[in-house]
Symmetry: none
Subunit: 219 residues, 2 copies
């Protein structure tokens, strides 16, 4: 809202985006506070920052908690029924997340493969010097930078895993090799069958293990 009308879309520039995030977050907090003050209403806001795993809450995490609790205790809220047993709920959530994770990993792999192919097929890149249009040159440069970032992240990610579990990392790298040789092929090593459990039982910790088995059957 200044100097230029910004179009409502993802800000690709990293620094700009972070700056904007910070500024607007601040402005938002101020507005929320003003609203609560002016109208004596109870309000809170939760934001999951782009980088942090921790959510930020306003006016403060401590102040937000009661609001959230109140909100969650709405009889109308869909989760109320399930929240009778938090355990079952959480377990379901685990399943969902795992599934999502698997899918995203698949996506990542595909994208990586495509990217790799493009890189290989595109080859040299010597033509860059001759590009006459500034925009194009900038784009090419950006592409390279981004690539570096992603590759680096993937590398460090792999290293991390290697430290964490040696055998697993070994398998992963093997698979990566295989994939590199057969980029079209996809391999599934994981059989995480998920099964939704009935949530009707009362809050009992007796059944959790059984439920666990249902959710994550051992192969």
């Amino acid at each position: 809202m200044a100097r230029k009308k910004v179009k409502l879309a993802w800000i690709s520039n990293d620094a700009t985006r972070r700056a904007t995030y910070k500024k607007r977050k601040h402005g938002l907090l101020k507005k929320v506070r003003e609203l609560t003050t002016l109208c004596h209403v109870t309000a809170c806001m939760i934001v999951y920052g782009p980088e942090e795993a921790q959510p930020e809450a306003w006016p403060s995490a401590a102040e937000a908690a009661p609001v959230i609790r109140r909100f969650k205790s709405m009889p109308d809220m869909d989760q109320c029924r399930k929240m009778v047993n938090q355990e079952g709920f959480l377990r379901q959530r685990v399943g969902k997340l795992q599934e999502q994770l698997r899918r995203l990993m698949g996506d990542n792999r595909e994208l990586e493969a495509s990217l790799l192919m493009h890189e290989v097929l595109g080859g040299g890149g010597g033509g860059l010097v001759d590009v006459g249009v500034d925009d194009a040159r900038r784009l090419a440069w950006m592409a390279e930078v981004r690539l570096k970032v992603v590759e680096e992240r993937i590398r460090s990610e792999a290293a991390h895993r290697q430290l964490a579990v040696k055998e697993e990392a070994e398998m992963a790298s093997k698979e990566e090799e295989v994939l590199r040789q057969n980029p079209g092929e996809e391999v599934d090593l994981f059989h995480g069958g998920e099964e939704i459990m009935p949530i009707s039982y009362a809050e009992s910790s007796m059944t959790w293990l059984q439920d666990a088995y249902n959710l994550f059957p051992l192969n």
Copy 2:
């Protein structure tokens, strides 16, 4: 903020206060939406209106629910004292998965961007050398298309989650069907990374933790 500088205090006049509330609430929602769009962050807002017993949530109650759940599942919140028991354990697991998920989503985004650039710049007739105004225009177009695809995917992912809350069992079975039909989507080369969970369990049995550990390996 107009015609007169309003002092930050409870607005005693009833009509004025309600008008202000309505206007500012609207503005706030807009701002939240902008923030989420511009910076790709997950956010929600909860306001207990002056009159209504029902809270209002943004972007919508349905969309806010997952955010709230996620927030509530923070180990750091008041429920963190339960970290020792199985619930806390599951919560931790959820947190881990969420973190991974977020990172993967970021990777996906970056990969998409890289891929886009490679496709556009490399895909044309003669490679980079021929990049011109038309290519720039093409890039813009492709960028939009890609964006739509990605956004759509994210949206469907979100809708997915919402639905999952409402009809967990139903959705799950459908998903499994889908997955069964497209087994290629389900790829996991990396399931790995172990992490030690807190061993300070006091009251519960010695074995459940072990079992849990076996059943729900943290990554």
